[in-house]
Symmetry: C2
Subunit: 307 residues, 2 copies
């Protein structure tokens, strides 16, 4: 049994009010698989890079026990590259460059060894490619989670709606939930979106935490108030990876366990934003992770007895 | 022993995307005392109105066991009037009219029977008047809570800073916390504001809940995701009133109990916004309130055991 994660493995160049980076390794599958690896040891990625990708960066995956058998390396081609600059409040950003390169004609390959996939995380990519991955895994996984973004709502809504019918969980942010549903109220938005296919909807609200909707129930997870958000890049992917890694580890897809998984995902995301890129996810001691989870417990708990 | 609440008792005319009202009874002391009355029976208001205020509106306070001995009625003068129109997202509004009337030279009178004040809530008013009330209560109350707004930061910052040194708890919204501290990060803002005097800081974030800061600790309270916010007027005052009423009822000013009080305040605010003005606060059965508190428990709880 395994957790399969599809998404980008790419180069990013990031500028925040705190500094800027040269090309560093990023991409949804990178953040998500690193985050998942702290919970679940049988994590596998499906992605594509060019031959500009360094062997030592691929070894970073192996060090975390992540299988890269599904990572295609295209000779003579370049990896996907994104460059962006965050505004002072770090809540918005300008894209400075997007070079699709190898991503332009990405045809995901699912190695035979990935066919034991029990948990599937579809990181942000064209809905068409996300569908292809679902169709190429022979046995329907126990849980399929889809991450997407406003861009695909603008340019590929029909494909996205088709993909939504094939998944169990959708994760998007609050602005995207409003765009997808046409409703301002997130409660109303959640009803419309759950009617589109997924059984669970996670709405990410950045510094305000996340909401999990299921049937007529809702869970509100806090975000850890941080002194400083250094670089928000990859926070959403890290959240999804931590969430999926915890579910894969526990093998429990109940609503109660999804609540817990959101706290673990949020904790991983809170580490991610503390430094540039994946730096904070490369070597995270168990004690630090446990301490962060304890902070979430202290942050959110209250004991009220109704009399 | 009693809970004394100072603030406006006034007329509002409100327009939201859902409709508009004629002049209805509003004001910080109105919302806060009604909310508090569901928890604590010895609540007293200090305020001023004109003789345009109706006897039946004053009786509404009495019906809830709220003392109006400190409510001055100025013959030949008019009550404070505010009129506003909310935008479609209900997160912002335009003020259409502000008529100070009796508020222009409000000199708060503290009746002798109010000198047993143990809990004091200073609703939004000029910091100078808030100070006057503190000085006219002979025995320092067990807990003094200050509510204020950006307007006083713009026009009376020195007075506000002086008042801040005299109180235990400050409640403001996130934009106001940023303005008062000059810090974007709410964690950094909280440190600066706690250094200005109050021992506790509550940052209200509307649909995103509230944060309670104390020393180096923080509590994050969720807001109940609502299908529809009908009229946000008075939500912050209602929150403060429910918060104070619960503290007065329990007589416990520990950090743990303040956490609980925030949940009760949030529950009262979630009722307030369901209808225009104070309508929802006039007759709230205990079962409904208990049900709402249970919704908050279901909304926020998760059980994680670290191993």
């Amino acid at each position: 049994m395994s957790l399969v994660i599809i998404g980008t493995v790419a180069f990013d160049a990031i500028e925040t009010p705190f500094g800027k980076t040269d090309k560093i390794v990023g991409g949804a599958a990178t953040y998500a698989s690193l985050a998942a690896s702290y919970f679940y040891k049988n994590t596998k990625i499906v992605a594509v890079v060019g031959d500009d990708f360094h062997q030592e960066d691929i070894e970073e995956f192996s060090k975390h026990g992540i299988s890269t058998e599904g990572l295609q390396i295209k000779a003579g081609e370049k990896s996907f590259f994104w460059s962006g600059k965050y505004h002072n409040d770090l809540n918005s950003r300008d894209t400075l460059a997007t070079e699709l390169n190898v991503l332009a004609d990405f045809d995901p390959v699912i190695p035979e060894s990935y066919q034991d996939c029990e948990y599937l995380l579809l990181g942000n990519l064209t809905p068409q490619v996300q569908q292809t991955v679902i169709s190429r895994i022979h046995k329907r996984p126990k849980l399929v989670v889809l991450d997407t973004m406003n861009f695909w709502m603008d340019v590929a809504m029909d494909d996205l709606l088709k993909t939504l019918k094939m998944v169990d969980v959708l994760t998007i942010n609050d602005a995207e939930a409003r765009q997808l549903s046409g409703e301002y109220s997130l409660v109303k938005a959640s009803k419309k979106i759950l009617a589109m296919g997924p059984k669970y909807l996670i709405i990410k609200k950045g510094e305000h935490g996340a909401l999990l909707f299921h049937e007529n129930k809702v869970f509100s997870a806090p975000a850890l108030p941080l002194e400083e958000v250094f670089d928000p890049t990859g926070a959403g992917d890290t959240f999804a990876g931590g969430f999926m890694g915890y579910i894969a580890k526990t093998g429990d897809i109940s609503f109660e366990n999804l609540r817990r998984a959101i706290i673990f995902g949020s904790a991983m995301a809170s580490f991610c934003v503390e430094k540039f890129g994946t730096e904070r996810l490369k070597n995270l001691p168990k004690e630090e992770l446990d301490g962060r989870i304890q902070e979430f417990i202290n942050l959110a708990q209250f004991d009220i007895e109704l009399v």
